[in-house]
Symmetry: C2
Subunit: 203 residues, 2 copies
Amino acid sequence: MEEIKDTEKQILNAAKEIFLQKGFDGARMQDIADKAGINKAMLHYYFRSKDRLFESVFRELTSNIFPKLFQSLMSEMPFEEKLKSIVNNYMDFLVINPDLPLFVFREINSNPERIANILKDVVKIDDFKNQLKGNVDNAISESGLENIDATQVVLTLLGACIFPAIAKNLIKIVFKMTEDDYVDLMIKRKEQLPKILINGLKK
Amino acid sequence: MEEIKDTEKQILNAAKEIFLQKGFDGARMQDIADKAGINKAMLHYYFRSKDRLFESVFRELTSNIFPKLFQSLMSEMPFEEKLKSIVNNYMDFLVINPDLPLFVFREINSNPERIANILKDVVKIDDFKNQLKGNVDNAISESGLENIDATQVVLTLLGACIFPAIAKNLIKIVFKMTEDDYVDLMIKRKEQLPKILINGLKK
DNA sequence: GTCTATAACCTGATAGAC
DNA sequence: GTCTATCAGGTTATAGAC
């Protein structure tokens, strides 16, 4: 019993690392087995196929962040507080999981069908659009900010947080940063972003 | 003569499409040949290997945009003008080439060595960091804007432009957009972004 | 549950005729 | 230059012993 769960967990952890870095197409079952310290046949014993293993990994990786993010976006707070809380929570998450956004966007682009099937369960998209728009529109108007499209605001907010994670490796190369430099950049960004964004949206 | 160039061009165009969508690992030489309307053996006749074909494609795709973007960032204009011109030029480019940023970041993450070799020629990174920082710092202080880290400004600017391109397919799903809706979103964004960003950086 | 060995398949690359 | 046929190597997946 204990050993079952343990092996399964080891496989999942190893698979997460490999899939996150290499993507579905670049990942090798052999590499996952090696990293998990077990045999290749075990992967199939526990997860039957590469597709199913990937699905489990994707589900585990995204099941937390999607609802959490949507929940933050939909919460009934004053705009400025809301924005600060999203930036704070999401940036903290991204410092710990910098590879996740690129992973998600990569898989959506290279194999939309596979992801569409998984996303159905993870996110209930139906009329999310309208709910979000109404919520953000309200928050904006109540705050006396410029009347600007809610979609544009959300994209600017998310882009400001997520882009530095997606571009992490290029940033480190171009600006000659160590890992510590990068983390420092992200932590400082948590304070500066709300200022930039809130100011920018004022009339 | 004419036919040589023609076939080579057909291959490159087909390879661009496939590599952009699937990435190096997901791309199949057979699919590229099919899309080019020629035989698989021809790919090797003209480009010798998948690696070399990819290198040609990557070079062609990035040779324009990297220098152009860096040049814009380094130009000696007042901050507001500079920002507007970057947003305008870059957003136009991204509407036509929405897949390119994700392609670049994906390849950097899944196979850093391959890209590092190619990037050496395309971008001369040496002390780009200092030049950029100095240039942006000057632009900011001359404009009487808040004293904010140049790196953060550049990241916010680029993220605001690039993120909607990277997230294109997810955006279309979540907000139930058609291709036309998306293009419209990006065009409107060109006008709204400078306002948001400039305002946000003022004291 | 775990392992070794191997099957079945796919993919990049080449040989050789035209 | 272009094609067909095929090789060589690697990858997922399974069979079967323990």
